[in-house]
Structure formats: C-alpha cells, structure tokens
Amino acid sequence: MSTIAAEPGVISLREITKAFPGVVANDRISLDIVGGQVHCLLGENGAGKSTLISILAGMQQPDSGTILVDGRSTPINSPKAAVDLGIGVVHQHSTLVPAFTVLENLMLGETGVLRNETRAKARLDELSELLGARIDPDALAGDLGLGQQQQVEIAKAMWKGSRLLILDEPTSMLTPQAIEKLAASVAQIKAQGLAVVFITHKLREAYQMGDCVTILRGGKNVGHIGADQLASFSEAQAQRAILAAMFGDDVATPEAADLAGATEAHREVDDIELGTKRVRLELSGVATRGHGHDVDIRDVSLAVHESEILGIAGIDGHGQAALAEVVAGQRSAAQGTIRFDGADITRRGVAGRQQLGLRYVTDDRLHEGTVGGMSVAMNLVLKRIGQRPFWKFGQINRKAVDAEAERLIADYAIKTPSSATRAGTLSGGNIQKVLLARELTDGARFVVVNKPTYGLDLKTVKLVRQILTEFAAEGGAVLLLSTDLDELVELSHRIAVISDGEIVGIVPNDGRGTAERVGQLMTGAIEGTPATEEAHA
C-alpha cells in the first residue's frame, strides 16, 4: 500500500466505488495524483475511466470512498467545487460553443457582472505561452481545427489556475503531428508543477507520455506502475507489464499488443491487383449542398473496386458524414454522378440503393442506426420494412421476422437475451453487431462504414475488423471512414484523405510510413501549405 496519504500537493482517491444499474463502474479504486507528473490511466472502453473522471470533475458522486486533497478529505459535490479546487477537464468531445469566439468560450465560466476582456486576453497570452501554442482570441471556435480546439479546451480547463489537468482520450482525433504538439504542451504543463491525468487506450502513448501508469479493468485498479519503476523499465518490459495487467493472466499475445496500440500499426489485408478488379462504386465530381451545420463535400471523385477496402482519413467533421450519406442515398448530390457497377444511381433513394446491395453502417449507432425502443428483431429488418417475406400485403409476418432475426443473431454471435429484447439495452459492441448483421446480409455488395470500431471493447474491435476484411475478401467493396489512423493503416488497400469536404490526396497503403504521409496530407491541407505529396494512385 502507498503511504503518501497526507502529502501536500497530492490528490488521492481512496476506495472510490460507483455503481450503476447492472454494472459497477468503479470498484474500490485508489490512486494518487502527484503534482509535476503525468499520470496515465489505461484501460479498455468500459473499464471505468470516464466514471472516475466525472467523479473527479464533480459531475458524479461516488457511492462510497473519499477524495483527499492535500491530505484533507474533500468532497467534490459539483463541477464548481472541482473548478475551485483547480481541477480542469478536457473532454474527449469538444465542449466549445462553435458560434462563440475563443475568448467568449474561455470566459463562459466567469462569474463577475461585467466582462473583463483585457484581463481575459492577458490570461490567454499567459496560457498560450505555457502551452506553446498561438491562439487567436477572436477566431470563432467552430472555425478552428481540432488540434487548435483542443488547445483552447486545455486553456479553458486551466483558466482559473489549475492544479490538475485531466485529458480524456486527447489523441483519439489528432493527426500524428498534432499529437506531437500536444505532447510538447503536456510536457510544459508538467514542468510548471501541475499534475496531469492522461487517459488513453493506447499503450504506446501511455509509455511515451506518462510518468506513471494505472491500469483499470472492469472497474478495478488492476495494476500500477510507479514513476521510478516505469523509468527503470525498457519499453518492452513496460509493455509486457501493462499488457499483463490489461488482459489478465492470458498470455500477452502479439495480437493483444496490437489491439492495445502497443506497436506501430501495419497493414493486415491481403494484396489485391487493383487493375484487374472491376470498379464497384464510382463518384465523379460529387458535391452536396446546404444541410445545416456540418461540412459539405465538394467535387469528390473516388472509385472503390471489388474486394477493395478504401480508407478515408481525416479529422472528424471534415465532410465524412456528408460523404457517407451521399453514398448511402440519405443526402442528395447537388452535383456529379454516382455509379454503382456502372449504372447511374444518383437519383436513387436509400431503399433503392439498399436493394442493389449498397449498404451503410452509420457512426451514430444509437440514434440513427438503431431504434432503441424497438426489439432487436425489428432493428435487424429495419431496412427492409414493407418487403417480402417480412410484410405480406402490408401486414407484418412476425414469424418470418423472428426467423430472420434468430439467423442473424446466431451468425453474428449477437449477445441478447432474446430477439424481442429492446435494442437499446444491448451493449455498444452488440449494437454494432446488429448494424453489421443488418447491412451485410441479403446480397450486400458494397458497404460504407463510418467509424466502425469507435468506442467498442477490444474483442469487438477485432471482430468488426475481421468481418470487414472477410467481406472484402469475398468480393465485397468497403469504403471505410475512420478517424483512427492505425485502423485505416491496418485495413485499407488505399487511403484517401478528406479535408474540409475535399479529397486532398490518395496514398496507396504499401509498407511503412503510410501513417506519416497521411498525416502530412491532413495537416498540409489544414494549414494551407500545399501538400507536397500529391495523389499517385
């Protein structure tokens, strides 16, 4: 047991327990957060990381256990209490108001009656220097790139003189280059004596950025590697120790290491000769227009061949949704044509394309992909409403629906009490299996998948990737949109980069260095310098 209970400058969690209906999210977790150190929290999705943070941030109250600040038991009853203690959180998803300027966003938490912009600007300058980033106070938050937005978020978290900065999966949406910048900022913050909690599910990052590592599994603290110990370890040793904790006593196979992002990603799909394959889906000069807030695509031309997985890399919110939806038929193309097996399908709707075998696995599994209040069975035939044999003369044939559901549940090993269970009660991984089962059945020839493994546990991640590669190996074509570069490198034959709604280049995925080249295209496109490496596909 650690004995630094009463040391000043330490925030200690003691026996923190928090249960939700059906699951113990945090089970007697104890850990110490020391100033001037980067404390990495590692664990799969669902390991209890997020709950722990929201307890630290005052957004949730633990069922039992205490939080000691400088050795004194301090309840964190509200987000305000957390801010007063100097605990700042940068959430995984942006919490900035897009229509406000950077400065306005930063001043959201101010309590005074009058806005004091001069003081705010001075404070921003101070923080920019600390972070080593230039931030324009008058730019609209919505106009900033994701990396910059994150810097603003960090500034916001530290606005009131922080003592602890919590970064929740900060790298999940960044380019390799932006991750380096972030690492530099974190190092500077650390040098100021602040404590940093860095949450990630990638082992590599934990080793590179962390001074000490705590591993959570199933809501429990299953391993801690102290600062001295970690410093004395070689990379391989650290890896083995962490993997053993993450996956239990199972042998830390290379596969596990791979999934945990321990090693650099490398391509795992078989080679195909693109020239010999027929084009399944072809977009030429496709553009979308006017759909509210998200980015439209402009002049996108792409070809996906049979048996090919074409990856689309890009920072989240750069037109991926528009691209996926225009291919699926959910959004109409304002310009250009879409061809499927040579036939023009630009004017066809969702149902027409679905019948041709063009399918779409959306990234919004809960609200778009499934209807949580409906049964698993109904969700499995949701795209075939009104079609035979499930509906005859407009009347539902429940036997046929249930039979189909049972078949798909068995085929895809969907864990559900029964086909009549409400889909909303399933776990994220099983909901994703429902989507894949629905889309890939009944003559699928092409599928668009948007962020297929986002937020899933490692086993399901592996399964989903396997399903996709098998689908391609059997002659299907896949358009894979993802913000996870490692995933793209592992699965794709070619990777196109989308930025601000335009395809800025296509990189063939051959051998090492693909990620870096993709990253260059991403940053090059954003910062305005012409991408040196043009498409040569």
Binding site: G71, R72, S73, A81, E368, M374, I385, I396
Partner: protein, 386 residues
C-alpha cells in the same frame, strides 16, 4: 397500472377539494354515476364520446410521430363550421346523402389543408410546430367566428344572435336502432380499430414508430422526413376536423360564434395515459365521456361550477407526470432527488463543514503512517460562527 393510478389519485384529491369547498364528494361522484350512466344518460355519454374519440385518434397520429399538433381547437371548429355552414344551405337543394358526403369530405380537406401550414414550415425550415399550430388555431377560431357572424349566419332575419341556422332533424346522422346514439359513434370506434391495426400490424406503423423514435433513424432507413411530417400533420388535422363536422351533424345541429368546447384539451391526458395506443384510448375516452357528461349535472347538483371538470383533468395530468417520474426512477433504481443533492445538503450540516477557504497548512512534519489526518485538521474550532 400506470394508466389507472393517476386517475384514481386525481379523483381522490378532487374529492378532497370538494370537501374543502363545502360539498359532499360522495354526492358528486354518485351524481356522475347517475347522470352519466343510468337511465338513458349513457346514450348522451356515447354521443359525447364520438368527437372525443376521433380527436384522440388525430392527436395519436401526430404525437406518435413526435409532432406536437396543438392546433386541435381551431381545426375542430373549422370542421364543425363546414357542417353548420354548408348543411343548412345545401340540404334543401341536394339529396341528403350527397350533402353529408360533401360535408365529411369538405371537413377532412379543410382540416388537412389548415395543417399543411405548420407541417410545411416544420419540414422546410424546422419551425417549432407547437407555436405554428397554436397560432394557426387562433386564426382558425377567428375565421370561424367571422364566418358565423357573416356569410353563414342564419338567414332568418329574426335571429340576431351570432349563430348558424339549424340543420333539420331528418338530415342529421341517423341514430343506431333503438337509441339516441348517432352513427358517428360507430365511425369513431371503427376508425380507432383501423388505426390500431395500422399502428400495430402494417409496415406504415413501423415507419411511424421509427420516425417518432428518431427522425435521424427514419432518414437512415429511407423514410422521407418532410413527407412524413406533412402526411402526419394532415391526417391529424383531417381527423380532428372530421370530429367537428360529426359533432355538428350528429349532436349540436347548429353552431354559435364563440362556441369552443375544448374537447382536445380534455382528451389530451387520456391520449397519453393510453400510451398513444388507439385501442387503449377507447376505454379511457369512454371513461372521460361518462365523467364529463355526468359531471356537468352532478357539479350543478352539489353546487359546483362545471369548470370543476377541468380541475379534475388538470389533476390527472399532474399525477400522470408524478407517476411517470417515480416509475421511471424506480425502474432505473435511482434515488428521487437530483444527484449529489443529498451530499451537498448534508455537507452543510456535517462535521466537516469547514469553509472552502484553503488554510494552506504549512506542510508539517511528514506523517508517514496514515494516522487519520482528519482529526488534526478539524481540531481548530477557532472561528465558529454563532
């Protein structure tokens, strides 16, 4: 269970209110029974039920799609003015069945067209349909009053009150044999059954539920959002207007300006208690019909204003909200207080109510063992206020 409990609670509390107002609640409820059901009174209750049931269906159609059509009062009056305006003028010149058909179709059409406005605004610009439908309702009420005072006013010069002419007895909807219940009641029940079938068995029912659950999911499945909004709003409006024309043709026979029975307001809680199921709405609306029909006379007999009925409806809504909240919290196994509230309140009185002002203890000699550091810090009761 959750459908009945709010009604029971509302009746109990309403009884208490009656006691406070100096009357005997048992007399009141006995009166409801007597005037609502006994003798031939049940027939009056069923006559009242016809429009209520059709309005309930109109609301169900819209609410199932998560479209809040609150324009029911105006739409209802538009439907009724089609009957009361056209009826007296057309019945003398055309065959009766044809006029009835024209009135029915006309009211359906008017109701649908009036609802197109909020529907298109919502589909095209995302305007909040609660506001637009309400505003359209006010406009409709005004238009109906203008019509009754103007073009469709009773041509008889001796009638000065703003009202239409009365439709002759033989032109009204026929009664069911041996009763004074007109066939509008049958129409209402048949419509409810058809609606139940559509909702539970057809592909359109599934589409409707998908759309209601999430417009995004509907789009994903290939259902056109705009088309769905317009279709649902028009169906809803058409049904509610139909209720208006049937009530005039079967029951009230003429229309006065400023007549606004507010059926939709009364039927609203029961639609929700029925969980938007047409079938489940039948007994609930029947209950209210008896209660309303009997309640008016019962209230009078114990010396209460007939507005007291609306108090009961309001109480049902209140208790429905409470039962839903408590039931949902219980289902999730959560406490009934906002998260963290208990701790925050307790912290005010707890022993560690130390002010949040940091006392920055000047780092004493390092305590190596975890020898309960709390005792040392709390032993400084120097500044206890009061």
């Amino acid at each position: 269970m959750r459908s009945i409990l709010p009604v029971v609670l509302a009746l109990v509390v309403a009884g208490l209110i009656i006691v406070v107002m100096g009357s005997n609640p048992l007399d009141f409820y006995a009166g409801v029974w007597k005037y609502g059901l006994t003798g031939n009174n049940w027939q009056d209750s069923l006559r009242l039920m016809a429009p209520l049931m059709i309005i309930a269906l109109g609301l169900i159609v819209a609410f199932r799609g998560q479209l809040w059509n609150l324009g029911y009062n105006g739409t209802f009056l538009l439907g009724s003015v089609v009957a009361s305006g056209l009826g007296p003028n057309l019945f003398p010149v055309l065959p009766g069945w044809l006029v009835t058909a024209i009135i029915i179709l006309g009211s359906l059409l008017v109701g649908a067209l009036w609802s197109v406005v909020p529907a298109v605004l919502k589909a095209r610009f995302g305007t909040n349909e609660i506001i637009t439908s309400l505003v359209m309702s006010f406009i409709a009420i005004g238009v109906v009053n203008l019509l009754i005072k103007g073009p469709v006013h009773d041509p008889n010069p001796r009638v000065t009150a703003p009202q239409t002419a009365t439709i002759a007895r033989e032109n009204l909807l026929p009664f069911i044999d041996g009763t004074r219940v007109h066939i509008g009641f049958v129409v209402a029940i048949v419509l409810a059954l058809v609606a139940q079938f559509i909702v539970s068995r057809t592909s359109f029912g599934v589409r409707l539920d998908v759309f209601g659950a999430s417009p995004k999911a509907a789009q994903h499945v290939g259902i056109s959002r705009s088309w769905m909004i317009i279709l649902l709003f028009c169906t809803s409006g058409a049904l509610i207007a139909l209720a208006g024309s049937i009530d005039v043709l079967g029951n009230v026979t003429y229309q006065r300006a400023n007549w606004n029975p507010g059926y939709g307001d009364a039927v609203m809680p029961f639609v929700f208690l029925a969980r938007l199921s047409p079938l489940a709405a039948i007994p609930l609306v029947a209950f209210y019909s008896v209660f309303a029909n009997g309640g008016i006379n019962a209230a009078r007999s114990v010396g209460l204003n007939s507005d007291f009925l609306l108090v009961v409806v309001g109480l049902i809504l209140v208790f429905m909200t409470i039962t839903e909240f408590v039931g949902e919290k219980r289902r999730l196994g959560q406490g009934y207080l906002p998260a963290g509230m208990k701790q925050s309140v307790m912290a005010l009185f707890g022993p560690r109510a130390a002010a949040p002002v940091k006392v920055t203890t000047p780092a004493p000699d390092k305590v190596t063992t975890s020898s309960s550091p709390t005792t040392t810090t709390t032993s400084t009761p120097g500044k206890v206020t009061t």
